[in-house]
């Protein structure tokens, strides 16, 4: 595996004090916090920063890392000698809940096994089970609606046959449950890190987000869409067909006198589920162009015969 230079990651010198490390970490954590950062690969960088901080902010881990890593450079092939941690006594305080499940193989190789055996109990029990993983997925609304099988590609750090760490693409075919909503989680049991024993693998949590869609939007359980109407459909009322994300068609009745900006709500025809959501159609009146003599004549006729002033108080 490749040696990781945690000092380089945190952009601090090797003799940096605890305060300097804390400041550097906080500065970078702000810069790459995945919820607010606009930097590319912010999530990956945040993981690297967290890992570096977990080692350098802990006096015991830092001392062990310094002793082991002297003379190595970032990216250099590296394997810790057997029993390298003999002679260090770890208090266990360093093995706090620091999100270790998300750290690299390099970190796991150096520090992952220290707590086990020395501090049996809850922490050890949790390590016996593989870590849970988290990933965001982007779905088409149409696929989510139908509950179609989805091929999902996730980038996972793996150690290859030569011991090098590289990002591997892991492909999963997942049956998306019907009616999944934005922000919901799908749990794939046993698809996290392998556990110490068979059957003890962690889970993979997929956080669902939808790709931008030109026709539809999901708001909670409601399906929101725009419904264009001709002026005569809006004025006289009509029955018009709307196409749902699964391709099926639903006929809805427009009441006479509908206006652009109005809403039509069809109960129970939103996102499938128990209870199902509503279909919310935002009405938009589209004017036909006056680009033929006949069309102009019709508009002129309306202008002449209808006493209509849209700017008058009350709208007419």
């Amino acid at each position: 595996m490749e040696f990781k230079d945690y000092y380089q990651t945190l952009e601090v010198p090797r003799d940096a004090g605890a305060d300097q490390i804390k400041k550097a970490y906080r500065r970078l954590a702000r810069k790459y916090h995945p919820d607010v950062s606009k930097e590319p690969n912010a999530e990956l960088r945040m993981k690297e920063i967290n890992e570096a901080n977990a080692v350098l902010s802990d006096p015991e881990k830092r001392a062990a890392y310094d002793a082991l890593g002297a003379g190595h450079a970032a990216g250099e092939q590296f394997r810790p000698p057997p029993g390298w941690d003999a002679g260090f006594e770890f208090s266990g305080d360093g093995f706090r809940d620091d999100g270790g499940a998300d750290f690299s193989d390099f970190f796991s190789e150096l520090f992952g096994r220290m707590g086990a055996g020395r501090h049996p109990g809850e922490r050890h029990g949790r390590r016996a089970r593989g870590g849970d993983h988290h990933a965001k997925i982007l779905l088409d609304i149409e696929d989510a609606w139908r509950g179609a099988p989805q091929r999902i590609e996730l980038r996972v750090p793996k150690v290859d046959a030569q011991g090098r760490v590289a990002l591997e693409t892991r492909t999963l075919d997942v049956q998306i449950p019907t009616g999944v909503r934005e922000g919901q989680l799908i749990r794939l049991a046993g698809q996290g890190s392998p556990g110490a024993e068979p059957g003890a693998a962690g889970d993979l949590y997929l956080e669902v987000h939808f790709k931008p869609n030109p026709r539809y939007r999901i708001d909670g359980r409601d399906l929101v869409m725009e419904l264009p109407l001709s002026p005569w459909e809006a004025a006289l009322g009509a029955v018009v067909a709307v196409v749902l994300p699964d391709g099926s068609s639903l006929k809805v009745r427009i009441r006479p006198g509908a206006q652009g900006g109005g809403q039509l709500v069809v109960r129970g025809r939103g996102v499938p589920g128990d209870p199902p959501g509503d279909l919310v159609a935002n009405l938009r009146v589209v004017l036909p162009p006056a680009d033929t003599p006949r069309a102009k004549e019709l508009y002129e006729s309306m202008a002449r015969d209808l006493a209509f002033d849209p700017r008058a108080p009350g709208g007419a």
């Binding site: 919901q184 889970d203 939007r217 929101v224």
Partner: protein, 101 residues
């Protein structure tokens, strides 16, 4: 190439995660969760830890609060407030996206 197996996912609907599942998914201890429940920052239904059930949103929120506490040594109250603000940002971003902006 043989067709790969299709994995069936479980949709986390409502309050469905046990304390142990939440701890595993967030890499936190049961004690950490108990403190946040006691202080009202997480509000699962149920009388005691064995009956607590957490939602997808709780999981998301717990992970955010924990990350903020670890990253900035943030006071739990401050981390929870920041998590509230991030949730509001998510909602506003969703509305912006819906408006085509």
């Amino acid at each position: 190439m043989p067709a790969p197996n299709v994995i069936t996912g479980t949709l986390l609907e409502g309050q469905c995660l046990t304390l142990e599942q939440l701890c595993g998914a967030c890499t936190v201890s049961a004690e950490w969760v108990s403190i946040h429940v006691r202080e009202g920052r997480l509000q699962p239904p149920g009388e005691g830890p064995a009956q607590w059930r957490f939602s997808s949103r709780d999981l998301w929120r717990a992970r955010r609060i924990r990350q903020l506490e670890v990253a900035f040594d943030a006071e739990p109250e401050l981390a929870a407030l920041f998590a509230d603000l991030l949730e509001e940002v998510d909602r506003l971003r969703a509305r912006l996206g819906a408006s085509g902006l």
